[in-house]
């Protein structure tokens, strides 16, 4: 057996060492664990173990009413809680057959794009920190604080927003929202530009990221990749374009696509998506201005929500990829079964394939670039 492994690793003495990385390891984001068989610095085999943050969310959903489950969805992907809320609400609205007012759609889209920016900031910032570039993290996090303040201003919470209600949104945007956004945009652009200047053409950065854990488009589809990780492999797939929900078919934006599916491409896709999201918010605010202050924010929803017997699946493009909720109703006020389709679950299961034959240090780079959020990974 060892001879065969020798051949896989390409070189080395055949003295294999099994190393355990995580779950308490600064680069493993708290709750991930990888057991790797190494030959010198090269990884021969990697076996990720998950479940260290399995909180029983799906079981909990069966014991809460439709409304009560919204705050729990915050805690799935806690870097962009708003997209989780909206995805769940969308699934329940589809189950109940509720059509939400246009103004609520616009407000939801605006908040989702802001959440996308803040999620990508975390991913890019942490990727930098894990590879030894600390400064971009600080530059980006100043702007992230501003985004948090906007969220807090709108609905009173920084991180776990519990945004929206089933059937619409709870409140209109604050009056001078646009003004505040205009103030934020130049700073945000500047922070992204400076990160770009510091990292993208940096020799060390390029050496650490280009060609590392490259993945082909065919493999990516076979493994169920979605979102930035799939786009980095060269597949132009974005649910906002391909299965447009809300008003995304009226907006113009680019879907960035990579070529090699390596760490650098994933980083670049996220950087460009931040730019695109800023543009999207501008367009959405233009649409938002056409609505009057008295336009409805909520559709007509019964006081006690009772899901009909049936099952639906609704998905949106979350910052990490396709985030879907399967909701099955049985006529009572509680969902019978909720299944969450977290985007990074599918990405992370390809991890052994991704890091095979790479260096141990590249494992860290790969893990950060995939943006694995333990909350939605383990649920």
């Amino acid at each position: 057996m060892s001879r065969q492994l020798d051949a896989q690793a390409g070189h080395g003495t055949g003295d294999f060492v099994t190393i355990n990385i995580g779950p308490s390891h600064p680069a493993m984001h708290g709750t991930l664990r990888v057991v790797a068989l190494t030959d010198g610095e090269t990884i021969v085999e990697a076996d990720p173990e998950i479940g260290y943050l399995h909180r029983g969310v799906e079981k909990l959903a069966e014991n809460l009413t439709y409304h009560q489950f919204i705050p729990i969805t915050d805690r799935l992907n806690y870097c962009s809680a708003i997209t989780n809320n909206v995805a769940y609400e969308m699934a329940v609205e589809k189950l109940m057959g509720i059509e939400i007012p246009d103004k609520a759609k616009v407000i939801r889209s605006i908040m989702m794009e802001l959440a996308r920016i803040s999620d990508h900031i975390v991913c890019v910032g942490i990727l930098g920190v894990d590879l030894g570039a600390f400064t971009p993290f600080f530059y980006l996090f100043i702007q992230r604080e501003e985004l948090y303040e906007i969220f807090e201003w709108y609905n009173g919470a920084r991180l776990t927003n519990t945004f929206g209600r089933i059937g619409g949104v709870e409140a209109d945007l604050p009056e001078d929202f646009e003004e505040r956004w205009r103030r934020l945009v130049p700073n945000l652009r500047k922070a992204i530009d400076e990160t770009d200047k510091l990292l993208t053409h940096n020799r060390i950065w390029m050496d650490r990221t280009i060609g590392v854990t490259a993945f082909s488009a065919e493999d990516a589809l076979n493994w169920g990749f979605t979102g930035p990780c799939l786009r980095a492999c060269g597949v132009k797939r974005d649910l906002r374009k391909d299965e447009p929900y809300y008003l995304y078919d009226q907006l113009s934006f680019e879907v960035p696509v990579g070529k090699h599916g390596d760490v650098f491409d994933r980083y670049m896709v996220r950087m460009i998506e931040m730019e695109e999201s800023i543009k999207l918010v501008d367009q959405l605010l233009k649409i938002y201005k056409e609505f009057g202050p008295d336009d409805p924010l909520m559709a007509k929803v019964p006081k006690v929500l009772k899901g009909p017997e049936g099952e639906v699946y609704a998905a949106i493009e979350s910052p990490n990829g396709e985030l879907g909720f399967y909701v099955k109703g049985d006529g009572s006020d509680k969902p019978y079964r909720v299944k969450i389709r977290p985007p990074c679950y599918m990405v992370y299961q390809a991890f052994p394939e991704l890091v095979k034959g790479e260096m141990v240090a590249d494992l860290i780079a790969c893990l950060s670039s995939l943006n694995i959020i333990a909350g939605e990974l383990d649920r």
Binding site: G30, T31, Y52, H54, G56, L60, R75, C79, I142
Partner: protein
Amino acid sequence: MGFQAYVGQGWVLSKLEQLINWGRSRSPWPLPYGTACCGIEMMAALASGYDMARFGAERPSFSPRQADVLIEAGTITKKMVPVLRRIYDQMAEPKWVIAMGACACSGGVFRTYSTLQGIDQVIPVDVYVPGCPPRPEGLIYALLQLMEKIKQDHPLYPQLAELKKGV
């Protein structure tokens, strides 16, 4: 008479204790152990803007052996319990624990089969920070409270007991 200086509130001893407490309370190096949502708020507290380093938590120590304060931010599942216990055991004395967030304090909203209902079932906790998640200000306030607690400590009592036995 010579013994007086070592017993109880003796002058030399209390000044020595004050000195030790001053040193310990002014540099509580944290072990940031963020497992879930609270970890993101802890990052915000450590990053620019809130900058927890102002209060002496200058160097986030990712190795338990060089840390003074375990900041447990986030849910601990039953699968994670042996890991947490081991990290705590690896920390050198003196050590303190801040339980950040509702999950670490009491299990929070996750009253389910896989979630530990509060880390105080496994390790002793000095300061609880409620909130889901608490704001960075909350964490900083907890750190300040912990500093107050450290100042009232009696680090030389164990040695004193040894001395008394000798006499």
